[in-house]
């Protein structure tokens, strides 16, 4: 039985291939000149260059964080190329004009763009390496006044909006990787939902790292004005390489009065081979500011990839009665390491937060939940409920829980629960009795374990996530 499990766990990475497109690559290394080069290449206004340089100055003064429960070789930030763009052949007017090589890549990934757009009704803003190549459904969204475009486009088309919000949730000097991102980000997504608009479809961006040794630094900014709502999907897959790649993204969400932002991620970057060679270093800062009264920010993530994941999607609950949610499934296998969790900072009165985290570790991997629930003295009537469950598959892996609970208000109520379990022989036996084979049984048990999180995902993503866990773990228990 464990051989079956082994097979399932060790499924080769299906998305490992390199697309050969001529890339316009900046020389390796990071200094002010490179930042100026990025800024010039992207034809940016002076304020954005100042923003980058300020971040760079802060970054120079900072040290790489040492507290996460992960181990890796020191990253040489001077050995990374900070800008890579596919060379523009000509202006694109329709999908047919998109580089066929590129389209084939998406096909291999199983995302035929026009089909996907037509069938699923999803507007896909494709980021290929750093420059956005094609954007669909833009008109349809524009009709209701929603802005959904690449952030470099937004800098030119809506400079006031970008300037007003960029860096307000994650300041340039917030942490080491956020500062690095603020200095060198090349592209990303900007999304603006005006007052009272309910976004008619799920917005989605497909991220892709392509050029070897080019770190990717996306920047996502989503603003939901009073009474609006949006659901945003982020999905990742990366091709197979043996040198480690750095991915340091920043995501900022801002929800004003009565606004509602739902952010879902399925992350399946290349995790390295079974010996732990290669794989993506995923050091991401994600934070939402529930600024207005009755606003709501909800993070859902399914983390299955990356050699190292270091990510804490957080909510700052500033508005009265605002709500923060975090639903996470993190799966690690082989030599993967994940240190992930959330922060719920309660500032406003009667703010509420829910944390549901499910960690599954297999192989030689280490999976940590690290969470912070802070109740400020002003947050009277605040309420938090946290639940983090771990499942261990095999005796070589580790599961860790580090929940920080800091309460400075006597009217708050905070609850935290954690448990650890494994798939029991008796459970498998029960399934076998009912004529269900081990493989299927394990898949069902794991899906049951993750159910609370999966049901938060939008439909298509839930299907994808279930499949992904199937690849990674189905049968890995014995």
């Amino acid at each position: 039985m464990s051989a079956v499990l082994q097979n399932l766990v060790n499924q080769p990475y299906k998305h490992g291939f390199v697309t050969e497109i001529e890339s316009d690559i900046a020389p390796k290394g990071l200094n002010e000149d490179i930042i100026r080069l990025i800024s010039t290449k992207k034809n940016e206004p002076a304020w954005l260059l100042d923003f980058r340089l300020k971040a760079y100055q802060q970054w120079l003064k900072m040290e790489e964080p040492k507290w996460p429960n992960v181990k890796y070789r020191q990253i040489d930030f001077q050995a990374i190329s900070y800008y890579a763009a596919p060379k523009p052949k000509k202006k694109l007017n329709s999908m047919d004009e998109v580089d066929p090589e590129l389209l084939r890549t998406f096909e291999k990934l199983g995302v035929p763009m026009h089909e996907r757009a037509a069938l699923a009704g999803v507007a896909v803003d494709v980021i290929f390496d750093s420059v956005s190549v094609a954007t669909t459904y833009k008109q349809k969204l524009a009709e209701v006044g929603i802005i959904f475009c690449s952030i470099s486009e937004a800098v030119h088309a809506y400079p006031e909006l970008v300037k007003q919000y960029l860096g307000t949730v994650v300041p340039v000097g917030d942490n080491y990787y956020a500062a690095l991102n603020s200095a060198v980000f090349t592209d990303g997504t900007f999304c603006f939902i005006p007052k009272g608009v309910k976004c008619p479809m799920d917005l989605s961006t497909y991220f892709r790292i392509n050029t070897e040794e080019s770190g990717q630094f996306e920047r996502t900014l989503i603003v939901a004005e009073e009474g609006s709502s949006v659901s945003y999907l982020e999905g990742c897959t990366a091709p197979r390489f043996d040198t480690n790649q750095l991915h340091a993204a920043v995501v900022e969400l801002i929800a004003l009065d009565n606004a509602d932002i739902k952010y879902s991620t399925v992350q399946n970057w290349y995790a390295g081979d079974e010996k732990g060679v290669g794989g993506i270093y995923n050091f991401v800062t994600k934070r939402g500011l529930a600024k207005g009264a009755n606003s709501r920010i909800s993070w859902t993530q399914v983390e299955t990839g990356s050699a190292i994941t270091w990510k804490y999607p957080s909510c700052i609950l500033q508005g009265e009665n605002s709500v923060g949610e975090f639903y996470s499934v993190a799966v690690t296998n082989n030599y993967q390491q994940a240190d992930t969790g959330t922060k719920m900072i309660h500032i406003g009165k009667n703010t509420r937060s829910t944390i549901v985290s499910k960690g599954i570790s297999a192989g030689h991997s280490n999976n940590s939940y690290r969470g912070l629930v802070r109740i400020a003295p002003t947050a009277s009537g605040a309420r938090n409920y946290s639940q983090c469950d771990s499942m261990l598959i095999g005796d070589q892996c580790g599961a860790h829980t580090f929940p920080y609970i800091q309460v400075r208000n006597q009217n708050a109520k905070v609850e935290h629960e954690a448990s650890t379990s494994k798939i029991g022989e008796d459970q498998l036996f029960y399934f076998a009795q009912r004529g269900i084979g081990n493989e299927e049984a394990v898949s069902m048990i794991i899906n049951g374990f993750c159910k609370d999180v999966f049901q938060q995902l939008p439909m298509e993503f839930a299907v994808e996530a279930t499949k992904l866990l199937g690849f990674k773990l189905e049968g890995s228990v014995g």
Partner: protein
């Protein structure tokens, strides 16, 4: 004995100053242990809030004071300590400012308990060196613990309890540590050894005669042999101006049982580190704690339960009640080592905030490296339940009485687990008194 201080921290220097006056022991290993500790104490830095383990406990008020080692202890009369004595505990060791007081103590040999040794360390160490050497300084590691290093650097006396093989002692042992002088740093040391199949109950009791500012830096080492049991009660009732740093390290043998109840009521800043290693199969520990603090007190409890071997069980319930602008900290780490299958561990941290200015920081922490385990932890922070208050009021209790009763009941759950009736009664009175002070 010479010592070199690499650390320029004048505070540490002043703390170490008294050390060279200690007479060398005839035992070479003992002198070596002390010399190693001096060496480490000189090298280690005072922890700050930038150290993860001390993140919520700021020791700067401690550094602002200067402390001297106690040169002489006042000669207390039996009447002075009478109020601390317990009816059940006929065996008693009394230390005043860290100095052993034979005239106030009732060591075990006087009671004629064959084989049981309860006495001060320095009087028994030469005769029992062989039994003591494998334990003393072996559990409370000081390589990266400044306070344990300081304590060991000053090591020359302390409380010693050795229970012989198979002996079940039904009389509790009372180790009473009294602080009397201001600006004194004392370094009490306890060593409790229960040999295979033995059983004992020990009370470690820290009290003060006044409101002086002093620092107590205690280290306790406990070795529970195969199938032996130690019930360890630790009560800290220091002056509310004092500093109390306690380190306790426990090692358990095959099917050994360790039950601990620690109660922190006093001290301006108190810190208690309890490290339990379940070092053989079938070992069990039950670790309970209560911190009841008020005013500007800070009580920090760090516990670590290390499941080093398979088939061990641990249970922990820690409660904090913070009133005034007090600050309670709890950090409970449970470690399950690779191969420690069939571990069964449950931990619960429950906290009650009674004042808007009070503050709680809790972190129950699990680190698991084995797959066939049952581990659960939970933490709650809250206030008194309004429905429970309403119920009591509907039965005719005043608001204050209802609050008092509920707070008392919250704390009593821990105190109930103390196996010494008169102490339990006394502590329940204390909790009741303290909760009465609570303002609505």
């Amino acid at each position: 004995m010479s010592m070199s201080l690499v650390n320029s921290n004048s505070y540490l220097e002043s703390l170490l100053r008294g050390q060279p006056r200690l007479p060398p022991s005839p035992l070479a290993w003992f002198n070596q242990l002390r010399a190693n500790a001096v060496d480490h104490a000189g090298r280690l830095k005072l922890p700050t809030t930038r150290d993860e383990e001390w993140r919520f406990t700021d020791l700067s008020p401690l550094v602002r004071q200067s402390f001297q080692p106690a040169l002489a202890a006042p000669a207390l009369q039996a009447a002075d300590v009478e109020r601390f004595s317990l009816a059940e505990a006929a065996i008693r060791l009394v230390f005043v400012d860290g100095k052993y007081m034979p005239q106030l103590s009732t060591p075990a040999e006087r009671l004629g308990n064959r084989g049981l040794i309860v006495t001060n360390l320095s009087s028994a160490i030469t005769a029992n060196a062989e039994a003591i050497e494998p334990h003393l300084g072996q559990y409370a590691r000081f390589e990266d613990n400044l306070f344990a290093a300081l304590n060991t650097a000053f090591l020359h006396d302390g409380a010693l309890v050795m229970v012989p093989r198979g002996a079940a002692i039904d009389t509790p042992v009372h180790v009473l540590l009294i602080a009397t002088q201001p600006e004194v740093a004392s370094h009490p040391r306890c060593l409790f050894i229960a040999e295979a199949g033995s059983e004992i109950t020990i009370l470690e009791d820290y009290v003060s005669l006044n409101d002086a500012i002093y620092v107590t830096n205690a280290v306790t080492e406990i070795a529970v042999g195969d199938n032996a049991q130690i019930s360890h009660i630790r009560v800290q009732r220091d002056s509310t101006e004092a500093f109390h740093i306690g380190n306790c390290a426990v090692s358990l043998g095959h099917a050994g049982r360790y039950r601990s109840v620690s109660v922190a009521l006093g001290a301006r800043i108190s810190r208690y580190d309890l490290n339990t290693v379940l070092d053989a199969e079938g070992a069990e520990c039950a670790i309970d704690g209560l911190a009841l603090i008020n005013g500007r007190q800070l009580a920090d409890t760090h516990s670590s339960i290390d499941h080093a071997k398979p088939n061990c069980t641990s249970r922990q319930l820690h409660k904090c009640i913070a009133d005034g602008s007090a600050h309670a900290v709890f950090n409970g780490k449970i470690m399950v080592r690779p191969g420690a299958q069939n571990t069964d561990s449950a931990q619960s941290s429950r906290n009650l905030l009674l004042n808007a200015k009070a503050r709680i920081d809790t972190k129950p922490q699990l680190e698991i490296f084995a797959d066939d385990v049952k581990c659960a932890h939970g933490a709650t922070v809250g206030q008194l339940d309004s429905e429970e208050l309403f119920y009591l009021k509907s039965r005719g209790l005043s608001g204050a009485a209802a609050r008092n009763l509920l707070t008392y009941a919250f704390g009593a759950e821990i105190i109930d687990r103390i196996p010494i009736a008169s102490l339990k009664y006394r502590l329940e009175r204390t909790v009741l008194e303290q909760t009465k002070k609570t303002e609505p």
